[in-house]
């Protein structure tokens, strides 16, 4: 009984103890619940706004997304410039313990100077570039060497699959995809597109959970050029050959469609590879076709003659005394390359007589000659869609000397760009209209629609009759008797003009007897020209006549281009007939009476 009573007593005590513990646990849980509840209220109510903002900052990130740069195509749709992703290596210097050791290893892998890499790794910045837009293999090697403080991210990189082809024309971009030269610079705003923004939500591991686009990036427009890769290639090859053969310091060739002004080819030597710009200087990537001036020499004569025809100061049947190759102008002699007597305007152009051209220029006079040179676009930029074009050098008449009329008439005392000259000749080829040279044929928008760039002829500068007359005269230059015989083609009639301009010696400020600029400009087929082509070879070694240096290059390029275009050979060119012409009275049709031009004397005259 006593035992039973004691057991009950123990049981009650145990129950009480259990109850106390239960109460204690309950109180603790309630306390914890209160604490948790309070914390919840603190997080969800009191500091809700502040914490939500902090979470957004940590989890959400507004990431800029660059609009992809547009692609550049040639006129047939071949890719000339396009963007691709390339790895760039960066470092977090604050996370690197041994910058010297790591710098040495990375310098070896990246192929960069050790001192430079170590210096970059030794800063207290949180981000530095080590090398940008490198090959994937090199980036992988850098990662394997680098460890935690080194990272690789992809960057958009401009790539030119045709390497040096059209390099001067297309130009190039910088590391940040900004256009720096050529088409890339001129059309940078259209090509680069627009930057967009993407709101990226990340999880604790940094993975992207959600990606919302508050501002979609806009892809840049594509450009379709007027230039043809095949024609450009043929042109560049021909220039390479002539530069190699003659050891010329530079060479330029421009081909233009005379009716539209579309540039079909524009080649400059020396060239460069826009994919590898390191170590190049501006002289190599300068587009000499629009930036460099040269004296056009005899190639200016047909333009001056066209002006003289328009002003009616010269007629095709006129005979002009070329003074047997020597004439004094402003007390200084003016020479021809060989003595000529009486020549018609056609023969003056055919034989490239300086004295004959000077006399035609004198008939025009300073004002009208200056006006005609201005009308043909000299002295101001052509307006081609490239930056950096210069306007040339055409001094006002007030600054001309007593010899300037003669000098300008034979292409001296003025500086022109190759593009200006080829644009002026386009007017002779197309019947008298000045056109604006251009490189972009159409713009292709991101949605695929193509917007052609309208190009209309600018203005009529000479009549169709004058253009035909000069064109016919120019065909005689490429006959066997003309200075441009080596530009003639078996299947096509070529109209053109040679030019051999002496260069001014920068030390003596006088014309150098040895240094010349040889050129040939012409169009083919002469009766319905498909293109105007200018070839300029600067300072060729050896005999540097335009007819022997530049004319064969013209023929080579023109032949390949006509074949490529599928132009069928025209009918055989009519051979010029020689007839006898007897002036009926002294001075008729003769600019200045001279030996052999008196009445009753017979001279040979070319009749087309």
């Amino acid at each position: 009984m006593k035992k039973r009573t004691q057991w009950r007593c123990n049981e009650e005590q145990a129950n009480r103890r259990f109850n106390r513990r239960l109460v204690a646990v309950g109180v603790a849980m309630v306390a914890m619940a209160v604490v948790i509840g309070w914390r919840l209220v603190d997080l969800q109510v009191i500091h809700a706004g502040q914490l939500a903002k902090r979470a957004e900052r940590q989890q959400e990130q507004l990431v800029p997304v660059e609009g992809e740069r547009g692609t550049i195509y040639d006129r047939q749709g071949r890719v000339l410039a396009m963007n691709t992703e390339m790895p760039s290596v960066f470092a977090v210097p604050t996370a690197i313990e041994e910058p010297r050791l790591l710098g040495a290893a990375l310098a070896a892998v990246l192929g960069r100077p050790k001192a430079e890499v170590v210096k970059r790794l030794s800063t207290d910045r949180t981000f530095v570039w080590l090398d940008r837009q490198i090959s994937p293999a090199r980036a992988r090697a850098a990662l394997s060497v680098g460890g935690e403080g080194i990272g690789v991210i992809s960057e958009s990189h401009r790539f030119y699959p045709k390497r040096s082809l059209m390099a001067h024309l297309i130009g190039f971009t910088g590391l940040d995809n900004d256009g720096l030269e050529g088409i890339e610079l001129r059309y940078d705003s259209m090509l680069r597109g627009e930057r967009g923004w993407r709101l990226v939500e990340r999880d604790a591991a940094g993975r992207v959970v959600l990606s919302k686009g508050p501002g979609t990036p806009k892809r840049g427009d594509d450009l379709r050029l007027t230039v043809d890769e095949v024609i450009q290639f043929e042109t560049e090859q021909a220039l390479d050959s002539v530069v190699q053969e003659t050891q010329a310091s530079s060479a330029i060739a421009i081909m233009i469609e005379p009716t539209t002004g579309a540039i079909l080819a524009m080649a400059v030597r020396p060239d460069f590879n826009p994919n590898r710009l390191a170590g190049l200087d501006a002289g190599q990537w300068r587009n000499r076709a629009i930036t460099d001036l040269y004296e056009p020499g005899s190639t200016i004569k047909p333009l001056m003659l066209a002006g003289a025809f328009e002003e009616r100061v010269v007629k095709p049947e006129d005979l002009i005394d070329c003074e047997q190759g020597r004439m004094m102008v402003a007390n200084k002699p003016l020479h021809d390359h060989e003595p000529f007597g009486l020549l018609t305007p056609q023969e003056i152009i055919q034989h490239s007589s300086n004295i004959g051209a000077a006399k035609i220029g004198m008939r025009l006079g300073a004002e009208r000659l200056h006006n005609w040179l201005t009308t043909f676009g000299f002295g101001r930029p052509t307006g081609i869609d490239l930056k950096g074009e210069v306007g040339g050098l055409l001094r006002p008449v007030s600054q001309w000397s007593g010899r300037s009329v003669a000098s300008h008439a034979i292409g001296q005392e003025l500086g022109v760009t190759p593009l200006q000259l080829v644009t002026a000749y386009a007017a002779l080829a197309n019947g008298g209209w000045m056109v604006r040279p251009h490189l972009v044929d159409s713009v292709v928008l991101p949605d695929g629609t193509s917007q052609p760039v309208p190009h209309q002829p600018l203005r009529r500068v000479i009549s169709g009759q004058t253009a035909r007359r000069v064109r016919d005269i120019l065909t005689s230059v490429t006959t066997s008797e003309g200075t441009g015989a080596q530009a003639s083609m078996a299947d096509f009639q070529v109209a053109g003009k040679t030019g051999t301009a002496q260069k001014v010696n920068p030390e003596t400020h006088r014309y150098d007897a040895q240094a010349v600029v040889s050129s040939f400009i012409g169009f083919v087929p002469a009766d319905s020209p498909r293109f105007v082509l200018l070839v300029v070879v600067d300072d060729p070694q050896g005999p540097g006549w335009g007819g022997t240096v530049a004319a064969p290059v013209f023929r080579q390029i023109a032949t390949a281009t006509l074949h490529y275009m599928g132009v069928m050979p025209s009918a055989a060119p009519p051979s010029p007939k020689l007839v006898q012409f007897t002036p009926s009275a002294p001075g008729i049709g003769v600019s200045k009476a001279g030996p052999g031009t008196d009445a009753g004397q017979t001279v040979a005259m070319r009749i087309e």
């Binding site: 071949r78 890719v79 000339l80 396009m82 963007n83 691709t84 992703e85 790539f159 699959p161 045709k162 390497r163 082809l165 939500e201 999880d203 993975r207 992207v208 959970v209 959600l210 990606s211 890769e229 095949v230 290639f233 078996a490 032949t559 074949h563 599928g566 132009v567 069928m568 050979p569």
Partner: protein
């Protein structure tokens, strides 16, 4: 106090004391709790689904970027391989080809009216005539 109790009872449909005593309150509480739990589960499921789809979208976007990049790389490689200096180098150095000289290229005028079928028939006819001529 009594008024409040009556209000609660009114809300629950029966006097509170009797509702509690009868177990009806417990059942209703269970239903409400289950409903709340269900709503919470739906909310959690929805969030989880959003996150899961977010991962999927991010992965697809990444795949798209990779494929687009590959496409661009292939276009560039194609353009690079088709560059004329490379083709000319291969033609001259590996295949022994030379550039056509003047006069070696003959252009044939286009004749769009010619029916290819009639050309084939003409060739067959010519062959038959030739064979007939060869026959003894």
């Amino acid at each position: 106090m009594r008024r409040r109790r009556r209000r609660w009872a009114g809300l629950l449909g029966r006097p509170l004391t009797s509702a509690v005593k009868s177990g009806h309150w417990r059942r209703r509480s269970a239903w409400i709790g289950a409903g709340l739990a269900m709503a919470m589960m739906v909310a959690v499921w929805e969030r989880s689904e959003v996150v899961s789809l977010g991962y999927e979208v991010a992965q697809l976007r990444k795949n798209l970027d990779v494929e687009q990049q590959r496409h661009r790389a292939l276009i560039l490689e194609s353009a690079s391989l088709a560059s004329l200096d490379r083709i000319e180098r291969l033609a001259s150095m590996q295949l022994g080809m030379t550039a056509a000289k003047p006069g070696q290229i003959q252009l044939v005028p286009e004749q769009p009216d010619i029916n290819p079928a009639s050309m084939v028939a003409a060739v067959h006819l010519r062959l038959q005539v030739a064979r007939a001529g060869d026959a003894p």
